[in-house]
């Protein structure tokens, strides 16, 4: 059942897991909770636009977004297998999960790069 390309997907999963664990909580808290509730003011449009549009930021953000999707794909795939006992749909689930991650990465590339 183990396939030879598992290590490849696991590397993407691991990289995404580590990066998101480091970066996402702070970003999510500041952007979606602290700012809307008025706890912090947040940067001005000009500054945020400058930072996000900087080529280096774009590349880093693209990597973070893409790896987030692959992290999800790998974990969610095995949650469906183990949690919901869907082992008989092995290939279909793998195609949907990794396909979703690839599609998400393409959208991110289109928007960011």
């Amino acid at each position: 059942m183990k396939k030879s390309n598992d290590a490849f997907w696991w590397t993407l999963f691991g990289g995404g897991g580590a990066l998101t664990a480091m970066f996402v909580p702070a970003l999510l808290f500041l952007f979606t909770i602290a700012t809307p509730l008025g706890w912090v003011e947040g940067p001005s449009y000009a500054n945020i636009a400058w930072l996000l549009m900087h080529p280096l930021t774009r590349i880093v953000a693209f990597g973070l977004i893409s790896l987030s999707f692959f992290h999800w794909a790998h974990r969610f795939r095995f949650t469906l297998y183990d949690g919901l006992q869907l082992k008989h749909l092995f290939e279909l689930i793998a195609v949907i999960c990794y396909g979703g991650a690839i599609a998400g990465s393409l959208v991110a590339a289109y928007v960011l790069l």
């Binding site: 691991g14 995404g16 897991g17 580590a18 998101t20 664990a21 480091m22 970066f23 996402v24 909580p25 702070a26 970003l27 999510l28 808290f29 500041l30 952007f31 979606t32 909770i33 700012t35 809307p36 509730l37 912090v40 003011e41 947040g42 940067p43 001005s44 449009y45 500054n47 945020i48 636009a49 930072l51 996000l52 549009m53 953000a61 973070l64 977004i65 893409s66 987030s68 999707f69 992290h71 999800w72 790998h74 974990r75 969610f76 095995f78 949650t79 949690g83 919901l84 006992q85 998400g104 959208v107 991110a108 928007v111 960011l112």
Partner: protein
């Protein structure tokens, strides 16, 4: 000397006990495991938010203001609080498991688990502090 290997026409069925779908609600450890795996949904959600953020910034100041407005809707706030809880759980479980995933050896000395996890936590706090400082100082 003719020996025939007896191939079965069909693959014999393995003896397996059918497991109910909600096998994991019986013990807290299992619930924790499933919840940890489901934090990946919040990670993917955050990635989608980041794309939306980029899109709104590219569209100009009005679109950006509109997106911030949208984020202050109560429904969005509830979703995002749940998502934040999930990604925090993801970070903590990830750092706690990191010593198991990467065993660091310096010569004969194996770096203790606590130091590897501690290093991860230190990195996390540092990165979060830098992000917060950059964000607040604008």
């Amino acid at each position: 000397m003719e020996s025939k290997t007896g191939y079965a026409l069909h693959h014999p069925k393995w003896q397996r006990d059918a497991k109910p779908i909600f096998w994991w609600v019986k013990r807290w450890v299992y619930i924790g495991f499933i919840f940890r795996e489901l934090t990946s949904v919040a990670v993917a959600y955050s990635a989608i938010l980041m794309i939306i953020l980029y899109r709104s910034v590219q569209s100009g100041p009005e679109a950006y203001a509109q997106m911030l407005e949208c984020l202050s809707h109560p429904v969005m706030l509830v979703i995002n609080v749940l998502a934040l809880g999930a990604v925090l759980y993801h970070s903590i479980t990830w750092f706690n498991l990191s010593p198991k995933a990467m065993v660091v050896r310096l010569g004969d000395w194996r770096v203790p688990d606590l130091m590897i996890a501690g290093g991860n936590y230190a990195g996390w706090f540092l990165i979060s502090a830098v992000i917060a400082a950059a964000y607040i100082l604008g």
